[in-house]
């Protein structure tokens, strides 16, 4: 009979457990429904030469990263040096989607902080961003040889994310 009195305590401990786990979850990280789905196709002006249109179809057959960035985005500034360093290793081509940005600002930004991208395309009105379900720049997509999105990193890439998540995945996808 005495065990009954322990029930509220058990409920309390269970709640503590849930709340504790809840503290560690980031509500801003919404799982993307686009994982394991074909990446939306885009055809946009490149940042370097607006007369040239680049299509996402051109990346078929290789594993690539699509990094959504903007010159106005503070998180991008944070992850940028990491991307620049990473690009030097030539592990995987990084393409940029310049999200809701002024091309002039974007070009100046790359000139100032370095350019890790094989190419960047402009998405001035954010329509392509919506297609990709972008809601918080920076975001990075890992896209495989068949054009399927395999991973979405929301928020700045950190060295840990790069080492523990992106690199192993790229390696695996390249071997496939």
């Amino acid at each position: 009979m005495k065990a009954w009195y322990l029930i509220p305590l058990a409920i309390f401990i269970a709640m503590l457990g849930f709340l504790g786990v809840g503290l560690k979850l980031d509500p801003r990280e919404v799982p993307s429904p686009l994982i394991d789905k074909p990446a939306p196709v885009f055809r946009l002006q490149t940042l370097d030469s607006p007369s040239r249109l680049m299509s996402s179809e051109e990346m078929r057959g290789q594993v690539w990263l699509l990094n959504v960035w903007a010159s106005w985005c503070a998180g991008c500034r944070e992850e940028h040096p990491i991307l620049v360093e990473f690009a030097k290793t030539r592990t995987v081509p990084i393409y940029g989607l310049d999200y809701k940005d002024q091309p002039d600002d974007a070009r100046r930004w790359l000139a100032n902080f370095g350019n890790p991208y094989v190419a960047s395309v402009s998405d001035p009105d954010g329509r392509t961003g919506i297609e990709f379900g972008v809601y918080g720049v920076p975001e990075t997509f890992v896209i495989d040889k068949a054009g399927i999105i395999r991973h979405k990193q929301i928020g700045p890439i950190t060295p840990e994310v790069l080492r523990d998540t992106i690199l192993p995945l790229v390696k695996k996808l390249n071997a496939a």
Binding site: P27, R28, V30, P31, S32, P33, L34, K100, D125, G126, R127, I130, E131, F132, G133, Y135, G136
Partner: protein, 158 residues
């Protein structure tokens, strides 16, 4: 004091009917706009997560409202537009999450808790009633109590 008349003047100026304008119509088509409002008030803004796309002034919310407005103009149904949003942002954009395996606890949980709470309540009430129904004293105990009450305590102290 000069402040009081000044304030009164300012107040009078602010309340002057010439400043009270009708809100400008937001779109040429009020029916489509009403649909937009209804639809976007059921969709969550992903930047400021406790606001709907209708409420939020975040840039993404503005963009998404424009996107929905265009979709309405091209003749897409509400369900199609919701599917479009869910395909890109997941069930999370819906303020009314669909009943699925992953959301079952969410939907059934409160009723389950209610049932458990109700069960405990009924159990306790029954137990209490049983206690109340029990005669407090048996007949012998009653007689004993009677006799004790009616005996004169002074006589017993011998």
């Amino acid at each position: 004091m000069l402040l009081k008349p000044l304030l009164a003047l300012l107040l009078a100026a602010a309340l002057h009917p010439a400043w009270a304008k009708e809100a400008a119509p937001v779109a040429a088509d009020p029916v489509a706009e009403a649909r937009l409002m209804k639809l976007s008030s059921e969709l969550r803004c992903l930047v400021c997560q406790n606001q709907t796309i209708a409420d939020s002034n975040a840039e993404l919310a503005v963009d998404l409202r424009n996107e929905i407005r265009e979709k309405i103009q091209t003749g897409m149904s509400d369900a199609e537009i919701k599917d479009f949003m869910v395909a890109r942002y997941g069930d999370f954009v819906l303020y009314r999450p669909p009943v699925k395996n992953t959301t079952l606890v969410l939907w059934v949980g409160p009723f389950l808790l209610l049932a458990v709470g109700g069960g405990i309540l009924v159990f306790n009430l029954r137990r209490r009633r049983q206690h109340a129904a029990e005669p407090e004293l048996s007949r012998d105990e009653q007689a004993l109590a009677e006799s004790l009450l009616h005996t004169d305590p002074t006589k017993e102290t011998t």
